[in-house]
Symmetry: C2
Subunit: 216 residues, 2 copies
């Protein structure tokens, strides 16, 4: 007997602000999880690809558009929704600031919540959050994934701060600088920022589109 | 109008042999793609998770069991199957040798074909192959993904050969050695293999289970 299922998509949008990694959640309006928080998402339409559905639902529920969405994982446990077999393909994205979220069209509430202290979410969304955080942390090691979290020009100290917030641990300053500069993900700008401390060299990402390290 | 779909899984099993990266394909027995090659897979059963279905189909069609399957990507284009909406979650795995494939229970033929010179496959399986190869190549840079392709003890020359076959380009020997030894993925065994050439130090993977580089 073969499973006929509803297709769903969910989108995990994260940013770093106030020294924390936060994720965008919406309050579920009805059904068995009414009142709980969940990542924005919904059912895929006929004739719609999974990514098209993810973009449509994200826009309708949060006002966000034109994000680079990366497919995270598909969650297909038969018990994940008590009403029917619903398989959900999760996408994730990083945005520059929580202020980019404009409107909450569909749900009663949209809120940024800290990814490391999420309440009990609807469906298997706590598991989605865990997988998203794991993927994000892994990608820090070998991609420029955080380019959306930083301005076009930044100091290595600012970059390290973003890394430390996501990894939830402090990094050795000298080792971080040495490692990150060997990756080829950054380029030095030959200019400095003057502040209260000694001048700091400014850097930019080699590309502000997805790029992975090529060590070999 | 919401999409109700069939759930499918496909499994891309690859190995390196005879200087080539090869993938395991089965001949499709019926339907619009009869006679074409495809990665082993099939429809998900009621009450079965996606990974359970992938293991069951792989075993039934090729005799392979107990592989470490990693979820690759879910393919959900509405047009990917002309008969119905079928969404397929693809998994991939590497095996030590093509000889581990024991039996072809369901399909008329099971064959290893070179991943870089695949014929026109059924469904969107050429696209699956492209995504699998891209993922595999990316993972060479920052994980021990090839541990299944090598014996417990190997020389850096043997490891480099596997990398070169998968990347389809030659690597500078000194640079490869330097980079791979900084990853922490390998440990030196303090013993050497004697052969026609000068003795070569033997290495093993730090772990023979999935492990990613932690540079920071």
């Amino acid at each position: 007997m073969q499973a006929h299922a509803y297709l769903a998509v969910d989108v995990i949008v994260m940013t770093v602000e106030g020294g924390e990694l936060v994720g965008l959640l919406v309050k579920v309006g009805g059904g068995p999880f009414a009142g709980r928080w969940a990542f924005p998402g919904g059912l895929v339409g006929l004739g719609e690809s999974l990514e098209e559905a993810a973009r449509r639902e994200l826009n309708a529920q949060t006002g966000l558009h034109d994000l680079y969405l990366e497919q995270l994982c598909t969650f297909g446990d038969p018990e994940r929704d008590p009403r029917a077999r619903v398989v959900s393909t999760a996408y994730f994205a990083l945005v520059r600031s929580r202020e980019t979220v404009l409107a909450a069209a569909k749900y009663t509430a949209v809120r940024w919540l800290p990814m490391r202290r999420l309440p009990r979410l609807a469906y298997d969304h706590n598991e989605m959050a865990r997988v998203a955080l794991e993927r994000l942390r892994a990608k820090l090691e070998y991609t420029n994934i955080v380019y959306n979290l930083l301005p076009p020009e930044f100091t290595l100290g600012e970059l390290q701060e973003v890394y430390e917030i996501i990894l939830d641990r402090s990094l050795d300053r000298r080792n971080f600088r040495k490692k990150i500069l060997t990756t080829g993900l950054l380029r030095g700008l030959r200019k400095q920022r003057r502040g209260a401390h000694r001048p700091a060299t400014l850097y930019a990402f080699t590309r502000r589109s997805p790029m992975a390290v090529e060590m070999l």
